[in-house]
Amino acid sequence: MKISSTKRYETLRERMGNGDMDRRSFMALLGYAGIAAGVAGGSMTALSRHAMAAGTDIYFEGWGGVVSEALRKHAFDPYTAKSGNKVIDSAFGGESEVLTKIKAAGSIDGHNMLHSSGVSWYQRWVDNGYGSELNEANIPNMVNVMDAIIKPFRAITPNSLSAVPYDYGTTGIAYNTKYVSKEEAEALGANLLLKKELKGKIGGWGGDWANRAWYGALQSDQDPNNIKDWDAVWEKAREHRGLIVKYWESGAELMDLLAKEEIYVTEAWSGRVAALQAQGHPIGYLDPKNGLAWMESMFVLKGSPMADAEELLNFMLAPETALAVAEGQKYPSSLDPNKIAMSDVIKGLPAFDPTGKLEGLVFRDPTTWNPVEKAQKKQWNRLKKGA
């Protein structure tokens, strides 16, 4: 005769109440029952998941907020509907967080594709042995991607790519137009972040040492891709620290601080500012001379289901998908405007390059930035805390 777990528990409890069993035995049996239920339940859950999902699960991690919303709405959900594969997307605090998790776990379980930032991180993933080998024949839409944006990635892995470049943007200066005029912002350039009269109303990105150093270089009249005097760079960062109310840590926090007028001026990501402007906030955006530009890629980790990942990437690079995502996340697409007609919305985005050659934008040169990262990042983390 089969009896249910509840019945078995009640029988046990009754026996204990009658004194047929001591408490220790009762608890032990209950524990074993729990373990049995857990094991059975776990495997059943896994089996049911397997049964429910006929396709493959692809784990994606990105920057959250409007960026993730755009990807979900215009890329992942339509792809799932079309292919049956499920894209499980989540937000990370930064790629170092993912690298830490993967290293700690010793496997890429739960991590397949990343919205990776810049060529520096591409290099780091490859150097750490996580670079996959994409079969570009399975991604025919790659043909529409700008050569100029692929080139730096191919320079690192000439034989095969581990990622497809997907978008680009700039980290310029956002300012509240109620308190700072466009003329003043343009006149001060990077030094707007050091305006003493705005003390307590200035913000800064705390999450990236290189961003702070880039602006420190601009403020100390140095070429950011050829910094000679690091002390001068950090001196400017100290000066900036003395004026700020807060270092923000995420795009969502940046938008919140600007929208609620907790800060009037900060360096900011172009797409997030465009999103604020679209919401009607009085936020201006300035790309100072030699301002920081960056490109983002969709990086596939080694060990991921490659055929499915390539299918997803191809779907994401299809012009109708890529342009919808670009409009949603407010970052220009990596597609070549000479090959694919861009909408007026995309043409109006900050950082958009109509030539498709990206020659007007200054990107971080990994050959000069990566070698100093270990030492200078540590310096920044200390400086940020007042040391």
Partner: protein, 275 residues
């Protein structure tokens, strides 16, 4: 070997031993470590004032939060324990209710309360009490408020459990012997509820000292705890050996607090408080 010992060995001793071993490794580059038996990280920890300042700031803030939580938590705990309201479970449920909301969301909510465009400034501006918003956010005050908000239920529950265990006849007995209500509280209720108060304080202290997210969200550039240094070492600098050194040190320091507690209160008081 008892199941408890096996569990503690597997879940605490083994992982912490691995962390200790890792602390002797050498970080060559970001995310690249070399197995070694080097005291480099420990030497840096002991000689660099940067870490000592963080430890001081952490313990100072943890004491402040603990004291304030004890003062603020005792009152509702006393009320819940002594109320004649027949649905006392509802009060306890309300106490636990915040745990159903994400810790991050609860912390972020303070921006909407104390921010420039938050509820407090909105009301004060509307009433004409102030001309421009008060700066209540992104400073130590906001961090303390955030900590107390999150950890206060731990204090209240511990004190409540302790007060519930106090014999109901003792206070009336003290009163019949001539004690004033305040004297009866001071001489009878308070001493008997001390185990709960101490257990709650220990929990709040340890939880505060191990935090790093609250200062990130609510604090300004000067508001950081030792946990933020661990976060930097592991997640930003990808320097696991240094992160392991810092983590193990925090464990030892908080372990010392528990030892100190057991010396003063006795561990049996902790068991009592936790029921």
């Amino acid at each position: 070997m008892s199941p408890a010992l096996v569990t503690i060995t597997l879940l605490v001793v083994v992982p912490m031993s691995l962390i200790l071993i890792y602390s002797f490794y050498i970080n060559i580059d970001l995310g690249v470590d070399r197995p070694a038996f080097s005291f480099e990280n420990w030497s840096e920890l002991f000689t660099d004032n940067y870490y000592h300042v963080a430890i001081w700031k952490t313990f100072r803030l943890s004491v402040i939060v603990t004291v304030l939580a004890a003062l603020l938590g005792y009152i509702p705990a006393y009320f819940i324990a002594n109320t004649t309201y027949k649905h006392k479970w509802l009060l306890l449920l309300l106490l636990i209710l915040p745990f159903w909301v994400s810790f991050i969301i609860r912390t972020l909510s303070w921006i909407h309360i104390m921010g420039n465009q938050g509820a407090i400034n909105g009301v004060l501006l509307w009433l004409g009490v102030i001309d421009e918003p008060l700066q209540m956010m992104f400073n130590e005050f906001a961090v303390i408020v955030g900590f107390i908000h999150v950890f206060l239920p731990y204090m209240i529950l511990n004190v409540y459990v302790s007060l519930e265990g106090v014999d109901r006849n003792l206070v009336p007995a003290a009163r019949t012997l001539g004690c004033s209500p305040w004297q009866a509280f001071r001489e009878v209720t308070l001493p008997l509820s001390l185990p709960g108060l101490a257990a709650g304080s220990l929990l709040v202290f340890v939880l505060t000292a191990g935090s790093y997210v609250t200062p990130l969200i609510l604090g300004g550039p000067n508001d950081f705890l030792y946990g933020n240094l661990i976060y930097d070492a592991i997640l930003s600098e990808l320097n696991w050996p240094m992160g392991a050194t810092l983590s193990f040190t925090l464990l030892v320091l908080l372990g010392l607090v528990v030892v100190l507690y057991s010396r003063i209160m006795g561990m049996n008081q902790l068991y009592k408080a936790f029921g």
